[in-house]
Amino acid sequence: MKAILKIALGVIAALGGFLDIGDIVFNTQAGALYRYDLLWAVALGTLGIAVYAEMCGRVAAVTQRPVFDVIRMRLGFGPGLVALVASTFVNLLTVAAELGGLAIVLTLLFDAAFSLFVVLAAIGIVIAVALLPFGGIERVFGYGGLMMLVFVAVIFHQDPDWTAVGNGFIPSFSGSALYFYFVVGVFAAALMPYEVHFYSSGAIEEGWTTENLKENRLNAIVGYALGGILACALVIVSGYLFHPLGVEPTDLGTAALPAQGAFGETGLLLALGGILFCVGGAAIDSSFAASYNLSQFLGWEWGRYRGPEKAPRSTASWLLFLFLGLLIVLTGINPVEITEYSVVFAVVALPMTYLPILMIAGDRSFMGEHANGRISAAFGWLYFALIVVLAIVAVPLLLATNGGGG
């Protein structure tokens, strides 16, 4: 019973760590523009994050080495530093985007100055991290994020054309640059690197060993699959409501409109609450990931379980990343724009962190009997090839489509 509860909690934590402002923005826009046509890209991205997270969790549990420890070991200092700088840049943009997202939702709920809520959101995160243990942080935001299930209920309320929804899972190519930009966007939003950096470091934080490998697999597969269902729900409800009307969701608050349309004020509050917890959890995960990466690369003591006294440089770097994220949002740049850039640049940086993990996960001298089997290796390399292609085309598509503006 205890084991089942532990797995359930892990699944919730994985679910909470999956949906963030990038998923919400890109999936809602994808539905509004292309109705259900991009559901296949969401499913592809979800499978990708499950494969990547499972490998990272397994490597961490078996070797006791988190992602950036492995990167430095495999790539060496120079190339590893390039990966660190690229990942830190993306993580910093993500922290800023999530903080901005938190402030947008708080503004929608309480109508006061946006900049005040940005500062309050950052303070709230520091307090939550100071008061809650590591597992507690994951669970509070994971449970809160379950309010996003309202979007699944909205689907059944809308009762869309299920054949059209089903057809959306079959890859289709419209040929326009904007369509491919959104393919990259929804795929990359599902595969944000900070999610696995946090997941892998979390495995070390929670003292995983080879005994936790089953738990790791279930968390990665079931947790991210549930996250994928929520991401698909955002596309479907947006495709049903916004696409025929020609609504272009340029604001985070627009994503909550389908829930309001279906269930009135209760639906609206559940949607905003779900977004608040998902984005809040992602703000913590991404700021932790930035600090974890730096500490692991430089060999500093790190870990929430050690506390600020035993890991002072790691704690200070976490506060610094949060502060820098705060400053970026306070410059007045639209958080939705920051989100779009963070998602696109994330896919550019992704191969640098994905490849070392894939290599060590398949290395029997490190992983022994837990090295990648044929299926894991096939999936792993297939996704690596896909990520490399997307990394090459991401920035040209961003420029060609004027950042998705068409």
């Binding site: 009307l245 020609g246 272009e248 409109l257 509050l269």
Partner: protein, 146 residues
């Protein structure tokens, strides 16, 4: 031979300069995209106002969304008004500016009365009409293009 080629290039360049000078900086395609944005902003306004009309929303949400979207409509109006249109689309540009102003005004009504069901219903109706006007302009622009 070379002289003739150079003079042809010079003539083509001169024609291009004259054509560009007479064009203005707002093309039919750009105006069409601006009008489509207006239609999208009005469509969203219809949904927000529908929540107010049904008493199915939260006042703070309506007020903040109306402020944001109204700002976008105003921005679109300013952008269109500032641009120098091609002669052939000057009339449509003027009509688009009026629609943008109308949408911004409707959003300001929502901002002032975010909890008033009657106002919500009226704004919803007018947003629908504004969207239809924007769609009609877009249709004329794309129709004339064909």
């Amino acid at each position: 031979m070379r002289r003739i080629a150079l003079s042809r290039i010079a003539c083509a360049g001169a024609v291009l300069v004259v054509a560009i000078a007479g064009c203005g900086d707002l093309s039919r395609g750009e105006l069409s995209r601006g009008v489509e944005s207006l239609s999208a902003i009005a469509a969203q306004g219809e949904l927000i106002a529908s929540g107010v009309a049904r008493d199915a929303t939260k006042s703070t949400y309506t007020r903040v969304m109306a402020k944001t979207m109204g700002g976008e409509a105003e921005h679109e109006a300013e952008k269109l008004a500032d641009a120098e249109p091609e002669e052939a689309v000057a009339g449509e540009r003027h009509a688009a500016v009026l629609v943008a102003e109308e949408i911004a005004e409707l959003y300001s009504q929502l901002q002032i009365f975010p909890g008033d069901e009657h106002h919500g219903a009226v704004v919803q109706k007018h947003m629908e009409a504004a969207k239809e006007k924007a769609d009609a302009i877009a249709e004329r622009l794309t129709g004339e293009e064909q």
